[in-house]
């Protein structure tokens, strides 16, 4: 692998996902492709030369020269308010990547898959779910996804469609703050009971990917090991103002 050089991507679409999250679709000239789970570094430069860099997971399936990032606007942030507020189609964005070789999945790595997401931590897992739908349907997959409210669920419609396809993907939501009337799903934080109900049995040796805020990742990874899952098959990643990996 050669040096990861900075390149200018073209913003082709800015798509709101929730009140706080947008998808940025970017055309990246000479992009070599990526693996689901990898991230890019984004660099912003102000008129006075001031620069800020952050890492963002790629949410899209590998697809030629186009990548999508899901960016959550953090009000006290420096980079996310720009990406998820100021940037529009026709703008350019400096980035380099893809980066990261551990928190990645492709069909050849097998399964079954257990994906556990908290909030915008769903982004790299969405790349896996989309890639699986495009290429690897024989791998059974279960996504357990924690959000505050149903309005905060990122990719809600698309996840519904993918689960409805009946090709071995199940999607289970946990809503921690508020639930719509008649909500039949989980109404609490992800816990060991939920992981046992939704996840695979340890004997089925699932490959497990957990991404979200630190508190969720620490608790879920600890619960999974306590349930008997092999720690080596549990891969974790944190998101948020501190980025990845």
């Amino acid at each position: 692998m050669g040096r990861l050089s900075w390149r200018l991507a073209n913003v082709v679409e800015v798509r709101p996902e929730t009140d706080r999250v947008v998808t940025l679709a970017l055309e990246v000239p000479d992009w070599d492709g990526h693996l689901p789970g990898q991230h890019v570094d984004v660099r912003l430069t102000a008129e006075d030369g001031y620069r800020a860099e952050r890492a963002y997971s790629i949410a899209s399936s590998p697809d030629g020269g186009r990548i999508e990032l899901a960016v959550e606007r953090l009000e006290d942030g420096e980079v996310s308010p720009y990406l998820a507020g100021e940037l529009r189609p026709g703008d350019q964005l400096e980035l380099r990547g893809p980066v990261g070789g551990y928190f990645v999945w492709e069909p050849g790595r097998g399964g079954p898959l257990l994906l556990v997401a908290g909030g915008s931590g769903v982004a790299p897992l969405m790349a896996m779910v989309r890639y699986r739908a495009a290429t690897g349907r024989e791998v059974p997959a279960r996504l357990l996804y924690s959000s505050r409210t149903v309005e905060d669920v990122i990719f809600r419609g698309e996840l519904e469609r993918l689960a409805d396809a009946g090709d071995g993907l199940t999607v289970t939501h946990a809503l921690t703050r508020a639930q719509p009337p008649g909500w039949a799903g989980y109404a609490r934080r992800i816990d060991a009971v939920m992981l046992e109900e939704v996840g695979w049995r340890p004997g089925e040796r699932p490959l497990i990917y957990v991404c979200g805020p630190t508190r969720l990742v620490e608790a879920v990874a600890g619960d999974l090991v306590a349930l008997g899952h092999d720690p080596v098959r549990v891969k974790t990643e944190r998101f948020g103002p501190t980025g990845v990996p």
Partner: protein
């Protein structure tokens, strides 16, 4: 790619002159202490905890939790830098200097590198010179309290002049080698050395 300006982007974070001089390129000041790790946090019982220095040494050594605390203590106060771009300024750790551990084991003259190995299987590699001469510690206290498990407790390596993935959490020992042997992140695209002032983040940087 000189000359590119991000339309409409302005600085929002204010850094003092002192902070600015202490921040390596591409980093920002983080008041908290973020947690980053690739897998579940290993739980290590202090009764079973051991720290080893092995490989190219005259006397392989092993310390229990009590024994390592009986060694002459050493502390660090200063700044740490994570490759994910946060830097924490003016923090402190306490434990024992790696010099003390190496002196006890007596590195053989042909030793040039070390691999730090950990509970949970993590590894990271360093030139021997980067952990000698008051540059590295094995620490179990952070800002006056026991190091929490998610931050590497019971004990982690501390090599503050390199990106923080070199400061291996849950460290179990050092193996001295006569050659370099890339560790976990170093085999997965991250820079072999990791000097934040030279922005050695990824392969080829």
């Amino acid at each position: 790619m000189g000359g590119f300006v991000s339309r409409g982007f302005r600085r929002r974070r204010r850094t003092t002159t002192d902070q600015a001089t202490r921040l390596p390129p591409g980093q920002y000041v983080e008041p908290g202490f973020p947690v980053l790790s690739a897998g579940p946090t290993p739980r290590v019982d202090l009764k079973d905890w051991r720290f080893k220095v092995e490989g190219l040494v005259k006397t392989p050594r092993e310390w229990t939790w009590e024994e390592i605390h009986d060694l002459r203590g050493s502390s660090f106060e200063g700044d740490i830098h994570c490759v994910t771009r946060w830097s924490k300024l003016g923090t402190s750790f306490a434990g024992v200097s790696v010099d003390t551990l190496l002196d006890a084991a007596e590195p053989r003259p042909e030793a040039t590198h070390v691999v730090a190995f950990c509970y949970g299987g993590y590894t990271t590699n360093l030139p021997l010179d980067d952990v000698r001469g008051g540059k590295a510690w094995v620490v179990w206290d952070h800002e006056g309290a026991p190091l929490p498990p998610e931050h590497g407790g019971p004990a982690r390596l501390l090599v503050p002049h390199l990106y923080f993935w070199k400061s291996a959490k849950w460290v179990a020992g050092l193996r001295l080698l006569d050659h370099d042997a890339p560790g976990f992140w170093e085999s997965l695209g991250y820079h072999n050395h990791g000097d934040p002032w030279r922005e050695e983040r990824y392969w080829g940087d």
